[in-house]
Amino acid sequence: MIREQEDIIIQTVCRILIPFMQVYGLYVLAHGHGSPGGGFQGGCIFAASFILMPIAYDLNKVKRRFAEKRTILLCSLGVFIYAGIGWLCLLLGGNFLDYGTLSAILPVDPVMARYYGIAAIETGVQITVMAVMVSIFINLVTGGSHEEEMQKTHD
C-alpha cells in the first residue's frame, strides 16, 4: 500500500509474525488476572497484527476479514458485552457491575464469579479496542474511501 512493489522479505516475516502476535494478544487478555495485561493492551496487540497485514500485503486482505459492517458491529458488541454483564448483575438482584451475583447462574461461589465476570468484561473491552483500532486505521489510511489508491506493479 505504501510501496510501489511488494517485498518478499516483509511479506514472509509478517506471515510468520502475525499468528504469534494474535496468540500473544489473546495471552495478554487471558493473563490480565495474574500479570500486567488486560483488554486494552491485548486489543491493541491484536489490532496491530491486522494493521501489519495491509502494510505487508494489501488492504483487500484485511477487508476480506473485516467487512465494514462487521467491524462496526464488533465495535459496539464489546461495549454491549460489558454493559450487558452490568445489567445481568442488576437483573440478578445486585448492583450494576456487582459480579458476585453472577454465582446464581454460574456453578461457582461469589468470589470466583467475580473472577469470571472480570474475564468476560475484559473480553468485551478487547473486542471493542481491536475493532476500533482496525476501523480507525482503515479510515485514516484510505481517507475514508476504503479503497486502495496506489497502483501496484503486480497483484
Binding site: G32, H33, G34, S35, P36, G38, G39, F40, I72, C75, S76, G78, V79, Y82, A83, G86, F96, L97, Y99, V111, M112, R114, Y115, I118, I121, E122, G124, V125, T128, V129, A131, V132, S135, I136, N139, L140, G143, G144, S145, H146, E147
Partner: protein, 91 residues
C-alpha cells in the same frame, strides 16, 4: 507589549501554582491522605473479595468498574467519530 503582558501573567500563574505545590505531602510518604483512604482496603482485601491475584485488574475492572465501562465507551465513540468524519461512500 502584548507579549510582555502574557509573560507576566504566565509567571504570576506559575507563582500561584508553586505556592500550592508547597502544601502537598512529600513524595512517597506512606502517611499521606492518598495512601490512607482506599488503598489499604485494595491491598489487604483485594484478593479475598475479587479472587483476582492482580491488584491492578481488581481495581480496574471490579472496584472501578464504571470507570472502565465508560473508558470503553470513549474508545467506541472515538471509532464512531472517525467513521463519521472520514467515511465517504461512493455515490
Amino acid at each position: 507589549m502584548k507579549k510582555l503582558l502574557g509573560v507576566a501573567i504566565a509567571i504570576a500563574a506559575l507563582m500561584v501554582l508553586l505556592q500550592g505545590v508547597e502544601d502537598l505531602p512529600p513524595w512517597g510518604d506512606p502517611d499521606q491522605p492518598a495512601s490512607l483512604h482506599v488503598s489499604p482496603r485494595y491491598i489487604e482485601k483485594g484478593l479475598a473479595e475479587t479472587g483476582v491475584p492482580n491488584m491492578v485488574t481488581a481495581v480496574l475492572a471490579d472496584y472501578r468498574g464504571y470507570d472502565t465501562l465508560f473508558e470503553t465507551a470513549v474508545i467506541f465513540t472515538a471509532g464512531v467519530a472517525v467513521l463519521m468524519l472520514l467515511r465517504r461512500v461512493a455515490p
